[in-house]
């Protein structure tokens, strides 16, 4: 069948610059470049180009420019090129359209409609270069009050396990199998260096990374891949994954081609078999079932580590979160509309879930109304792009955030959204051994740790500007936020005043 899909991108190759070195041919995993030996010339299969820019970065003579195909169909706001092409793809394949990364649609990004405060005259801003500035955060269940022994003041209350992070930014769940072992190693080492946590995702933890256990959140998800006593024992935090922002209500599918020998060992499934994660956890059909799993995991680890529960942000997140806290979750994780994935049905990714800002605001408000906010930490993820977003999330009420996409971008990702193909040219979202070498764990660690360091410095500047020297004074402090261009209802849900008020 002849395809009716036009190329997405044009590859412009400057013949005066091209030296036929074939770097682009070797770098491109989508076969957009080919070498014609007869003519000694590099040519393009433009229909294969996904716009990942790997070749552009590696071309030694800067001979390459990737341009978007203008695709000047007759203008139609409803029938945009993407809509037309999705129909063409389905007409040609008859399948569910898959995609990678997070929702790329134009839903309002509330971070961009929130602005932060700063001190002027009546109180001094604090210079983080000269004064202490504290970002340390402890995740875990807190009691409502502390009791002390009378006389010589010493602690009487016994606290549930608390996990310290030096910067309120952690690496989000990305499973081994979806991403490569080198990515996992980079995340683990960067987390250890920055004093924060990374998350295994649901593909288990490779034994060579056990030594980073103190900085590791291990996930227990619907497929239960790679869950065994040692896995739980080495971890700092255990996370039960109920849902994911990119595909609320949908399970996962790691195709057999990605299940290499190492992946097979780590996931505890036969080599080459598809790893199917069911949509629900089949032992959790209700809130009391969740409580059972939470306490089963706490029992299994002798109450030494917090148990987190992760859900996708959906319409009634606030009520669900309240139930999760009462079911024993020590950390609530909310993954928003823009949360990313290694593979999801495009129609789900683009249409299901709610913006994380709204979910966070309503969950924090609800837990406070019920007087149970201190019983669980709240962590959010899904589209956090920079330290400004982090500060706004903390001010809305989050204890910490997860970053997934931002971390991958630090490793080279350019959001070409081909994660589901397993052909990631940047060697991130693939288990192809030749490709995974493209992420060097030493360099990957450096890049990720640098990112966290940069964000920490910026967060300290933001705090200092507000005249605050500890992150807990910003946490849930919505008076330090103002809304710009938001409706009354939006402001009410966010619990934020309009700028100027």
């Amino acid at each position: 069948m002849k395809t009716y899909l036009p190329p997405k991108f044009f590859v412009d190759r400057d013949p005066n610059r091209c030296i036929q070195c074939r770097v682009c041919v070797n770098q491109c995993t989508f076969d957009a470049h080919r070498y014609d030996a007869e003519d000694d010339e590099v040519r393009s299969h433009e229909e294969n180009c996904v716009g990942c820019h790997r070749c552009v970065l590696f071309c030694p003579t800067h001979a390459l420019t990737i341009r978007r195909n203008p695709l000047d169909y007759r203008e139609n706001y409803n029938w945009r090129p993407e809509v037309i092409e999705d129909i063409i793809k389905q007409a040609e394949t008859g399948g569910v359209l898959l995609t990678g990364m997070g929702n790329d649609k134009g839903y309002r990004i509330y971070w961009d409609h929130l602005v932060l405060n700063a001190s002027q005259v009546t109180n001094p801003s604090i210079d983080p270069l000269r004064e202490p500035m504290e970002l340390t955060t402890y995740l875990g269940r807190k009691p409502d009050r502390v009791e002390v022994e009378q006389g010589s003041p010493s602690l009487k209350t016994e606290l549930a396990p608390q996990v310290k992070i030096e910067v309120p930014v952690m690496f989000a769940a990305m499973s081994y199998g979806a991403v490569s072992i080198n990515v996992h190693e980079s995340l683990a080492r960067a987390a250890a260096e920055a004093g924060t946590l990374w998350n295994t995702g649901e593909g288990g933890l490779h034994p060579k990374l056990y030594k980073y256990g103190d900085n590791t959140i291990v996930q227990v998800a619907s497929g239960r891949f790679g869950v065994h006593p040692e896995y739980l024992d080495v971890a700092r935090v255990i996370e039960i994954k109920i849902g994911q922002g990119a595909k609320p209500g949908i399970g996962g599918h790691l195709p057999g081609e990605k299940v290499s020998a190492e992946v097979s060992m780590t996931r505890m499934i036969p080599k080459g078999t598809d790893a199917l994660s069911p949509a629900p956890q089949h032992d959790i059909y209700s809130i009391e079932d969740l409580a059972q799993l939470v306490y089963a995991l706490k029992e299994a680890t002798n109450y030494t580590k917090p148990v987190a529960v992760k859900i996708a942000a959906v319409h009634n997140s606030a009520a669900i979160a309240s139930g999760m806290v009462r079911a024993g979750a020590d950390i609530i994780v909310l993954d928003g509309l823009r949360g990313a994935t290694g593979a999801a049905p495009k129609i789900i990714r683009d249409n299901v879930g709610i913006p994380i800002e709204m979910a966070l605001a309503s969950v924090d408000t609800r837990l406070r109304q019920e007087g149970i906010r201190s019983q669980a930490s709240v962590v959010i993820s899904g589209g956090i792009r920079n330290s400004g977003d982090v500060a706004k999330a903390i001010a809305l009420g989050a204890d910490a955030v997860y970053i997934g996409t931002a971390a991958l971008v630090a490793l080279g990702c350019t959001l070409c959204q081909q994660c589901h193909t397993g052909k990631c040219a940047w060697g991130i979202c693939t288990t192809d051994l030749a490709l995974t070498k493209r992420v060097n764990p030493d360099i990957g660690t450096r890049r990720l740790a640098n990112l966290l360091r940069g964000w920490s410095l910026e967060l300290k500047d933001i705090l200092g500007g507000m005249g605050i020297n500890a992150l807990e004074s910003l946490r849930g402090n919505r008076l330090h936020l103002r809304g710009v261009g938001l409706t009354d209802t939006e402001l009410e849900i966010l619990g934020v005043e309009m700028a100027g008020n």
Binding site: V146, P153, S154, T157, G467, I468, E472, G476, L479
Partner: protein
């Protein structure tokens, strides 16, 4: 008299930004003394205020009614007064009521009518509540429910006098030279974002707790939201209110001693905590983990008082001033040392405490004359 702007916060701002002068003096033997020197001291810091608020708290004030709640109430109208008085008669046993004596002076314009009432709680009315909780609820009821009336003092054997004007003018207006107490705190105010209003002057009071405060609490938003979880609703729209409620929660309801409370409101840095011995470290760590939302951030000095105790401390990096002076059993706290020296030229000792370090004067642990073992902690922990 009907000037709402003088008693209500006209812009309904969430918090009031101000810079102020503070002064506190306590005779830790409990000897009562006149407020003349207190007024001289606070007047010496005249330029720290701008005439838009001054006030005093006096403890040991009404020994003749020592066991009765003394309500001081501002009225803007006779209707407000009749309504409140009917309410008080309904909900309390009223022992005595009188207008607070004042003398007209040119600086005080459009003052509200101020009356005081000595009340007893009928234990049957309380319905299981403690008397203190009952009183707090009634104060909230009047302050939020009755137009033109405002209870600004509700403790036993103590009272607050405050209004719009420089503190020395307020003192003259309320004839404070006639009163004696063993503990005085005083406040001169420089609000930057509201014209002064009578209710917004310091000290802020509930039961016998008073707070005078210099500064701005940048963590106000979360402090308030945290306290709301425990049923406190900030109605006064000043950040000083959260200090009072935080103290009430931590000391009265959670039963923590003041030294611990200071470690919650102005905690040591994480890096300092790590250097402490293990048992202290565990305590300080737990306090910050659990009460992080009550950390008072931003520049401030507070002097908090209740019967038998006066506590002063600054924010943890001391962005607002506090000086301590000791002479015999008398403890002075002040924004400026000059004010202490003015009224007590032969101080035994004066020093500036570390950021967040609480200075406590207590009747239980009176200062001994020539006390030299004060260093390194509270002014009174040498017994």
């Amino acid at each position: 008299m009907k000037d709402l702007g003088r008693m209500n916060n006209p812009y309904s701002d969430d918090k009031v930004l101000d810079a102020c002068s503070l002064f506190g003096v306590m005779d830790t033997t409990g000897r009562r003394f006149s407020g003349k020197e207190v007024v001289r001291a606070i007047a010496n810091m005249h330029v720290r205020g701008n005439g838009l608020g001054g006030g005093f708290a006096i403890y040991g004030l009404y020994p003749q009614y020592a066991d009765h709640y003394a309500f001081h109430i501002m009225y803007l109208s006779q209707e407000g007064k009749s309504e409140v008085e009917a309410f008080l008669k309904r909900r309390f046993r009223l022992l005595h009521a009188e207008e607070v004596p004042t003398r007209p002076i040119p600086a005080i314009v459009y003052p509200p009518l101020v009356w005081r009432y000595f009340l007893e709680v009928d234990s049957q009315e309380c319905d299981g509540q403690s008397q203190d909780d009952y009183v707090v609820d009634r104060v909230m009821e009047i302050n939020t429910g009755v137009k033109d009336a405002f209870v600004f003092s509700s403790g036993k054997n103590m009272a607050v006098f405050k209004g719009v004007g420089y503190p020395e003018e307020i003192a003259e207006y309320f004839c404070l030279e006639q009163y004696e107490g063993y503990l005085w705190t005083a406040h001169g105010r420089f609000p930057t974002n509201t014209p002064g209003w009578w209710g917004g002057a310091h000290p802020f009071n509930i039961l016998d707790w008073t707070v005078v405060h210099n500064g701005e609490i940048s963590s106000y938003g979360i402090n308030r939201r945290y306290l709301e979880q425990f049923g406190y609703h900030c109605t006064m729209q000043t950040d000083t209110e959260v200090v009072a409620y935080a103290i009430d929660l931590l000391m009265r309801k959670h039963g923590l001693p003041i030294e611990i409370v200071a470690k919650i409101l102005a905690p040591p840095f994480w890096s300092d905590i790590e250097r402490r011995p293990p048992s202290e470290q565990a305590l300080l760590l737990a306090l910050r983990q659990v009460y992080g939302s009550l950390l008072l951030n931003g520049p401030f000095t507070v002097i908090i008082a209740h019967h038998g105790e006066m506590i002063g401390f600054t924010d943890r990096i001391r962005l607002r001033p506090l000086t301590v002076g000791v002479k015999g059993p008398v403890l002075y706290l002040s924004s400026e040392e000059s004010a202490i020296r003015l009224v007590c030229p032969d101080l035994e000792r004066a020093w500036i405490p570390m950021g967040g370090e609480p200075i406590v004067g207590s009747l239980h642990r009176p200062l001994v004359p020539r006390e030299m073992a004060i260093a390194g902690g509270t002014a009174s922990d040498a017994d």
